[in-house]
C-alpha cells in the first residue's frame, strides 16, 4: 500500500542566492540572486562567514548586511522596508553588545534579549526555508509523473443526471416565481446592495446555515432578487462560506465554511 518512492534519475540543483555585480556597457547592473527576505539574506551572510547560528559574529554580520543594503541602494534597487527594519535591529543589537556586559544585564535583566530573539527567529525561519526546499523537491518529482491524456468523456460527459419531471418541476418553480414577482412589484421600498449584504451577514451570524433558495423566493422584486444574488456572490467570494446543493433541484444552502 505504501507506494515505494521511485528511483529518481535527475538532479536536484539548489539555487543559491548570490550577489553578483557586473559592469555591462557602462551600465552597472546588480544581479541579486533572489533573496526571499531579510532573514534569508542574514542566513546567507552567516553562512558566508561560516558561523554558527547560535554564535553570530554580530558586528561583522551587521557590517556585511549594511554593506549589501547600501550596495542595493547605490545601484538603485529599491530596498524593501522589511530589509531596513532588519538593518535597524542589527544596529541596535550591535550597539548593545558593545556596552559593558554589567550595564546590559542591569538594564535588561536578560528579559528581552534582542539577539536571542533574532536567533530564535532565524532558527524558526530556517525550518520553513528547508521545508520550502522539500516542497520544491516534491514538486520536481511530481513533474515527472503524467496523468492520462484527455478522453471523450472528460469534456463531453453526455450523461445527465436529470429526469423529465425534474425539468417540469423547475419550470413550474420559474412560473410561480414570476407570479410572485408581479404581485410584489406593486409597492416596495428598494434595498441597497450594502443593506442586502449586511442583512445576509446578520442572518449567517445568527445561524450557521442559510437557505439561499428560500431567501431568493422571498425577494419582493426582480431588482431585489438581483441584489440578493449579487450579495450572495459577494459573500461567497469574501467570506468563508460554502454553497451546498444536495441534489440538482434541491434548495441551495449557504453554510459557514
Amino acid at each position: 500500500m505504501e507506494s515505494q518512492p521511485e528511483q529518481l534519475v535527475f538532479d536536484f540543483f539548489k539555487e543559491q542566492p548570490q550577489i553578483i555585480a557586473e559592469r555591462n556597457d557602462e551600465e552597472l547592473k546588480l544581479k541579486i540572486g533572489e533573496f526571499a527576505g531579510p532573514l534569508d539574506l542574514l542566513l546567507y551572510l552567516i553562512r558566508q562567514e561560516q558561523a554558527n547560528i547560535f554564535e553570530i559574529p554580530i558586528a561583522k554580520i551587521t557590517d556585511e548586511y549594511l554593506r549589501v543594503i547600501r550596495l542595493m541602494e547605490k545601484l538603485d534597487i529599491s530596498v524593501a522596508g522589511d530589509f531596513l527594519v532588519m538593518a535597524a535591529t542589527l544596529i541596535e543589537i550591535k550597539s548593545k553588545m558593545l556596552l559593558p556586559r554589567e550595564i546590559v544585564e542591569e538594564n535588561d535583566e536578560d528579559a528581552d534579549d534582542p539577539l536571542k530573539e533574532l536567533v530564535n527567529r532565524l532558527v524558526e525561519y530556517e525550518k520553513f526555508k528547508n521545508a520550502a526546499q522539500m516542497l520544491w523537491e516534491k514538486s520536481t518529482v511530481e513533474q515527472s509523473i503524467f496523468p492520462r491524456g484527455k478522453i471523450e468523456t472528460d469534456e463531453n460527459n453526455s450523461e445527465i443526471n436529470v429526469g423529465v419531471f425534474d425539468l417540469l418541476n423547475v419550470f413550474q418553480k420559474i412560473l410561480s416565481r414570476r407570479k410572485e414577482e408581479i404581485q410584489m412589484e406593486i409597492e416596495r421600498e428598494e434595498m441597497s446592495l450594502s443593506e442586502m449584504l449586511s442583512n445576509i451577514k446578520l442572518r449567517l451570524k445568527q445561524s450557521k446555515t442559510f437557505n439561499v433558495t428560500e431567501f431568493f423566493n422571498h425577494t419582493r422584486s426582480k431588482k431585489e432578487l438581483v441584489l440578493a444574488f449579487m450579495a450572495i456572490l459577494e459573500i461567497v467570494r469574501t467570506e468563508a462560506v460554502k454553497l451546498l446543493q444536495e441534489n440538482i433541484f434541491g434548495e441551495i444552502i449557504l453554510t459557514k465554511g
Binding site: 503524467f146 496523468p147 492520462r148 491524456g149 484527455k150 478522453i151 468523456t153 472528460d154 463531453n156 460527459n157 453526455s158 450523461e159 445527465i160 443526471n161 436529470v162 429526469g163 423529465v164 419531471f165 425534474d166 425539468l167 417540469l168 418541476n169 423547475v170 419550470f171 413550474q172 420559474i174 412560473l175 416565481r177 414570476r178 414577482e181 426582480k222 432578487l225 438581483v226 444574488f229 446543493q245 440538482i248 433541484f249 441551495i252
Partner: protein
C-alpha cells in the same frame, strides 16, 4: 539535457513499457508509425510491441483495453463494462447541469421555439452562458431566426434531448397538470 552517452538499444519489454505510458498520455489515438518516429525505433518493432501489449491487456482480467481506432492506438475501458462506466459517469460533477442551465432548458423545452429575450423575460436573468452549455451538450439546437425586430435566434430541444430524457417525442413532456399528482406521490 543533451544525451551524449551512446544509446543502448531497447529491449521489447522496455519498449512496451514506454509505449504504454505514451499511449496513456496522448489525447488522440496515435499510430505505431508516429510512435516509432518519436522513439526513433523501427516501425515494425513498435508495431509488434504494441500488439504484444494489446494481447497482455486482453489476457489479464483488466478493466481496460488497448484498441486500434481511427488509425491509431488508444487505451479505453472495456466494452462489457460500459454499463458500470455510464452509471459512474452520471455521478460525476460534470454530469450535473447547473440550476441556471436546467431552468433555461426547462423554459426552452416548454416554450420552444423561444428567443433569448423571451427566456430572459421568463427567467428574469440573462441566460447566455446557460445557452452555450446546452448547445455544447447538444441538448438544444438553433431553430432559425424569428421574423421580428432584430431577428433574434430561436432555440428548441434536440433529438439528443429526447434520448437523454427518455422521450419518444415532445408530446411526452409532462404537463403542469400532471405535475400535481406526481409530486404528491414522492
Amino acid at each position: 539535457m543533451t544525451e551524449i552517452e551512446e544509446k543502448q538499444p531497447r529491449s521489447i519489454e522496455e519498449l512496451i513499457t514506454i509505449l504504454e505510458a505514451l499511449i496513456f498520455v496522448t489525447d488522440e489515438p496515435i499510430s505505431a508509425k508516429d510512435l516509432a518516429n518519436v522513439l526513433e525505433e523501427d516501425s515494425e518493432f513498435v508495431q509488434s510491441a504494441i500488439e504484444e501489449l494489446a494481447q497482455e491487456y486482453q489476457e489479464r482480467k483488466s478493466g481496460l483495453m488497448l484498441r486500434e481506432i481511427a488509425g491509431g492506438w488508444q487505451i479505453a475501458t472495456k466494452t462489457e463494462l460500459h454499463d458500470e462506466v455510464r452509471k459512474f459517469l452520471k455521478t460525476r460533477p460534470s454530469a450535473k447541469l447547473s440550476l441556471a442551465a436546467l431552468e433555461t432548458l426547462a423554459v426552452i423545452a416548454y416554450k420552444q421555439p423561444v428567443t433569448v429575450p423571451e427566456i430572459l423575460e421568463i427567467r428574469g436573468v440573462q441566460s447566455a452562458s446557460a445557452i452555450k452549455t446546452l448547445l455544447d451538450k447538444k441538448l438544444i439546437v438553433n431553430k432559425g431566426r424569428k421574423e421580428t425586430v432584430g431577428k433574434p435566434m430561436q432555440y428548441g430541444t434536440s433529438k439528443d434531448f429526447l434520448i437523454q430524457f427518455g422521450l419518444k417525442d415532445l408530446t411526452e413532456l409532462p404537463s403542469i397538470e400532471d405535475f400535481e399528482d406526481l409530486t404528491s406521490g414522492l
